[in-house]
Symmetry: D2
Subunit: 200 residues, 4 copies
Amino acid sequence: MAKLYFYYAAMNAGKSTTLLQAAHNYEERGMNVLLYTPVIDDRDGSGKICSRLGLTRPAIAFDSNFDLFTDVAGRLKESPIGCMFVDEAQFMSSRQVLQVSLVADRLGVPVLCYGLRTDFKGEPFEGSKYLLAWADELGEIKTICHSGKKATMNARLDEEGNRVWEGEQISIGHHYVALSRKEFRLDKVSPVGYHIDEQS
Amino acid sequence: MAKLYFYYAAMNAGKSTTLLQAAHNYEERGMNVLLYTPVIDDRDGSGKICSRLGLTRPAIAFDSNFDLFTDVAGRLKESPIGCMFVDEAQFMSSRQVLQVSLVADRLGVPVLCYGLRTDFKGEPFEGSKYLLAWADELGEIKTICHSGKKATMNARLDEEGNRVWEGEQISIGHHYVALSRKEFRLDKVSPVGYHIDEQS
Amino acid sequence: MAKLYFYYAAMNAGKSTTLLQAAHNYEERGMNVLLYTPVIDDRDGSGKICSRLGLTRPAIAFDSNFDLFTDVAGRLKESPIGCMFVDEAQFMSSRQVLQVSLVADRLGVPVLCYGLRTDFKGEPFEGSKYLLAWADELGEIKTICHSGKKATMNARLDEEGNRVWEGEQISIGHHYVALSRKEFRLDKVSPVGYHIDEQS
Amino acid sequence: MAKLYFYYAAMNAGKSTTLLQAAHNYEERGMNVLLYTPVIDDRDGSGKICSRLGLTRPAIAFDSNFDLFTDVAGRLKESPIGCMFVDEAQFMSSRQVLQVSLVADRLGVPVLCYGLRTDFKGEPFEGSKYLLAWADELGEIKTICHSGKKATMNARLDEEGNRVWEGEQISIGHHYVALSRKEFRLDKVSPVGYHIDEQS
């Protein structure tokens, strides 16, 4: 039985490094892998997965209309596939998460997705919302906050390094920093709208 | 540093048993615990946590307007609190999940929430959506499908035991059965709307 | 593919409760289970699994010469078996851990073992040593130290509640308390023999 | 509270890559790290940590008499330390595992150890035996067997790629391949000495 995995992490935890290492493991055992990355992430050019440790390799770029199930099903007719990998998986649509669920359930190909849980306001990304709901296995790639605590949230910074509290969900131009939820101040930034006195 | 935990499971995995055991552990070491349960879950009467193994104990019932942060902060002035427990946590509002995040971050009280991930159509519950996004630690309480695979989804059944494909998100009167995602047929039931041919 | 699981915990974390809940889940789906417990644990009479929450049920008692593989293989000829459970699994011999590995690998029956990792001096039990080495999945059932930290070690106490630093590995008559490794003072009690100054 | 982590994996799962990524994360947040590697592992020259993805960096080489606690305590007087890393941690002695436990408990420095669980006969390495027993957190870095199942065991091969069933625990010259426990045939290779008929 093939499974759908979601490995989540805050910014700069090493998700792409982990993905590239896992893909390498499959290939070393003689199995083919498929690598996908959403076009929205054009930090390093569409169609590449880049690790901050300096590793990079090409990937199939997909936009929001791309049908991941049909694509894998088609390639599977050509040759066996050991594993499907999706980088920046938070940018998948709910339909695309359903499609990769079916890649595991109907095509029998394991799917490993890597991505963030939440945006700079603490809201779940659409892809993450459904991956967290449907994945067979959830795994965390841990990283740390400057406070020494585990970092789980992603804060947006402007060019001077000041915290940005408002704006669009996706903005590739900004800088981001991984923070613990306590440092992130969820009650100050979340659109959910619940605040407590600073004194509390 | 106090943490927010979300222990998720499919129906009938033993969430309430696990909660009652963990509360017992705290009390055995001489620490006070607070137990909460949403009023929506009136299977066993409001304000009780009932395990299918026959264990039961009273809990503070809360509705959707209840402020969990203020309630814990008030009780904390009376006596120290070792841990806060929330059963059926999928029924929390996003605000209430933010409130329990602040119980951990600002009041320093660990919070253990137990609940389902998704409803009978595969949609995340509001409480689960935010607990999966914000919890410091995600843990699974595993159970099995009649197929022998791990059960992660919750199917609704009518009185004759037939699958129900349509209806409201919350319906206490129905029966539910835990299924693996493959048996659940996400593409048949999900409002996300992506279907594949049976032949695939 | 059937797996071997080892769920480890410190004393009084609720291992037997968790085991009984998991067995109940299998039976609720119409599957047979087999429950085993070593005779060395005569706290509650041989051949019973007792949870501190008050639940109890009979189990097959086995001594150090008992062949768990042959026993399961024999029963499997009578009727299908959904799952094998072993309580107090730290008391298994290395051979018995090999036998339950083969129950998973050759008989295709999943095996869930529950037990302590280490004794009152911090030494691994024989069963735990091999379960930690060979299990497909390791899971922790968490509990807490009186200090509020996670408890992972098991200290022996005499009748007055004083710490016992010397003695045999197995002594059912004593009391035990779960402590964090820091409170346990591994360098004071371990036969490994490495000590640091109290001032450090 | 600083913790001791043991990330275990079979051969060639990417342990060193994961270690180097985690060290990079600490440094990126401005924290110092200490990297250690046992001299027994001279595949790539003593005092280096080498990832199969091509990354490499220097590390403090230690032999079986090296006191890891005293070394870290001394360096801590010079400058703060964010994290201690140990590669090939299966080769630590029980004393050295006790020493790194004290680095976490007494010096307050988190310790991340990476290593194998078992040797080519399925016996736990000394370092792994104690790390599995004492670590606050156990994590698995997953990899796969040629059979498609998860690989958890390490088989030794000769130059022609044939399985080696006998020999010394440590032999750097041989090749190794990660296998699932079922493919590994624990009952054929383990010195524990329990065998079943091939027909079973």
